[in-house]
């Protein structure tokens, strides 16, 4: 399988200091990788470096064999829904059309075909009936689905999701991740999901990366729960709730993902 992302010994910093140190990371075609770590651990910064909107000081970052800036049009990005301004006066359809602005280019407006394509995407994520609704009036789960349609509007090959489970109830989360799995299968998407919540995305990921400024573990989810690795990533004050075979949510999710 081809490599979609290849990062070698990458370092990135803000004025307060290093946020990412010696990062080695890769992603293959059609792979789903979960990047998990505490808040402030550099997860969102890693996504921004891959998107080409955050500089890095050292190392090498290749996306589809190119620099991140040159690969932008192949990447779909879903930021945290909590960052959206709720009173921003845009309709659901407007938001999806925004995903096409980069491809449409300067001085041009979305065409009739673009609008039809946006409507089709809304139907695909189950939000077709809400296209005229104000985006701010939707629930967290609905906004997330619309955001997903927007991220897919540029026809990306790589999808980056920043904390997609935050502010969304459990049922909506499950339905969202099921849709995501379908997109991976049907569109051949490679996906990176960033989260501070281990439980939510573990069942979905092919590989997980534990990130807290450095990557403490990157590999199979089954080998990711070693106490010493988790302690390095999340600190000592960590408690686990281990689900047994009676866990209804786990079984439900496994059934959906089959």
């Amino acid at each position: 399988m081809n490599k979609v992302i290849e990062i070698k010994d990458m370092w990135s910093r803000y004025e307060t200091g290093w946020v990412l140190e010696a990062i080695n990371f890769d992603l293959f075609e059609k792979e789903i990788v979960a990047v998990v770590g505490p808040n402030g651990g550099g997860k969102s910064t890693l996504l921004k470096v891959i998107l080409g909107i955050k500089d890095y000081e050292k190392g090498e970052v290749k996306v589809f064999g190119k620099s991140p800036e040159r690969a932008r049009h192949d990447i779909g990005f879903l930021p945290q829904i909590a960052t959206f301004k709720r009173d921003f006066p845009v309709s659901v359809l407007d938001v999806v059309l925004m995903g096409m602005f980069g491809r449409i280019g300067l001085f041009k407006n979305p065409s009739k075909e673009d609008k039809e394509k946006a409507r089709a995407l809304l139907h695909e994520v189950g939000m077709g009936h809400l296209e005229d609704k104000p985006f701010g009036s939707l629930s967290g789960g609905q906004q997330q689905r619309v955001g997903m349609a927007r991220a897919l509007a540029s026809e990306p090959k790589l999808l980056l999701l920043d904390e997609p489970a935050t502010g969304v109830d459990i049922a909506a989360q499950e339905s969202f991740f099921r849709t995501l799995e379908n997109f991976r299968r049907e569109r051949g998407l490679s996906i990176i999901i960033v989260s501070h919540d281990i439980g939510v995305i573990m069942p979905l990921a092919d590989r997980v990366a534990w990130l807290n400024r450095v990557i403490h573990y990157y590999g199979d989810p089954r080998g990711a729960m070693e106490p010493d690795i988790l302690e390095k990533t999340f600190g000592k004050d960590m408690r686990f709730l281990v689900h047994d075979e009676e866990c209804i949510t786990c079984r439900r999710r496994e059934r959906h993902l089959l």
Partner: protein
């Protein structure tokens, strides 16, 4: 022909005031749309007060104050954008410093000037004294501002909605920051005649804020912002004519009343 006009439009200076007020209101309303969506109200206040320094420079050098105010506001607006990007302070701190600095410089420069200046007119507007030349400048600057907004509407909208998404889409967000600061600066300078330096920021905020209270659709918000600005200006001018009030202050109070009315919705 003149007998068909209402009484308050019979005099030439009132006709020019209404025409100039109309042009300036439309320009400020469109800029107000972005100022409110992007939360730039304080930048508006900062740039408008820096116009005082520009006017004082013009008076001191014996140049038409409108031109020095344009240059001064453009420089200060772009310096605010540059400094807030590179400095460790927040944007409001940077604006607060420029606000005080340019006002202070203005007072010092006026102290050196031997020329009489209608300071009250610059600070609170004097639309009744708007000349044919002023109308041409307002019209020319207005077309430039509106054309720039129309050309970059979708990029400005996306950048206002979510900066990370805009950057990830390849939108040149830093260039847009400078464009918007420049457009705000130009709009403020042409509004000095209408409402003055002190009150210019009111028309940069109130039309957009009132419109946002009334709708959740950006195209409607833009249209409502223009309507609110025109209603405020026309209403304010009519009130000023019949009750012998200061036009700039009447316009600002009329706009504020419309805002409070929109809060009832």
């Amino acid at each position: 022909m003149s007998s068909m006009l209402p009484e308050f439009l019979s005099a030439g200076f009132m006709q020019r005031a209404f025409l100039g007020g109309g042009i300036i209101s439309v320009v400020l309303a469109v800029i107000s749309f972005f100022v409110v969506l992007r939360g730039l109200s304080f930048i508006g206040v900062g740039i408008s007060h820096s116009a005082f320094g520009g006017v004082a420079l013009g008076v001191l050098l014996g140049i038409e104050p409108l031109w020095t105010a344009i240059v001064f506001c453009l420089v200060v607006g772009n310096l605010i954008v540059l400094t807030s990007r590179s400095a460790h302070f927040g944007e409001d701190t940077v604006i607060g410093i420029f606000f005080a600095l340019t006002m202070g410089m203005g007072v010092i420069m006026l102290g050196f000037s031997k020329t009489y200046v209608d300071l009250f007119g610059y600070l609170f507007g004097n639309i009744l004294a708007i000349s044919g030349g002023d109308l041409w400048v307002a019209g020319g600057v207005g077309i430039l501002v509106l054309l720039s907004c129309a050309l970059f509407m979708k990029e400005l909208l996306l950048d206002s909605f979510d900066r990370d998404i805009a950057m990830a889409s390849g939108v040149p967000v830093r260039a847009l920051d400078h464009l918007l600061a420049s457009l705000i600066a130009l709009s403020i300078v042409i509004s000095i005649k209408l409402v003055g330096i002190v009150l210019a920021s009111a028309l940069l905020v109130i039309p957009g804020a009132t419109a946002l209270k009334l709708t959740a659709k950006w195209r409607v918000m833009l249209a409502l912002s223009v309507i609110v600005a025109l209603l405020s200006t026309m209403g304010g001018l009519v009130l000023a004519y019949y009750f012998d009030l200061a036009p700039g202050a009447s316009i600002t109070v009329a706009a504020s009343l419309l805002f409070f009315l929109s809060m009832l919705k």
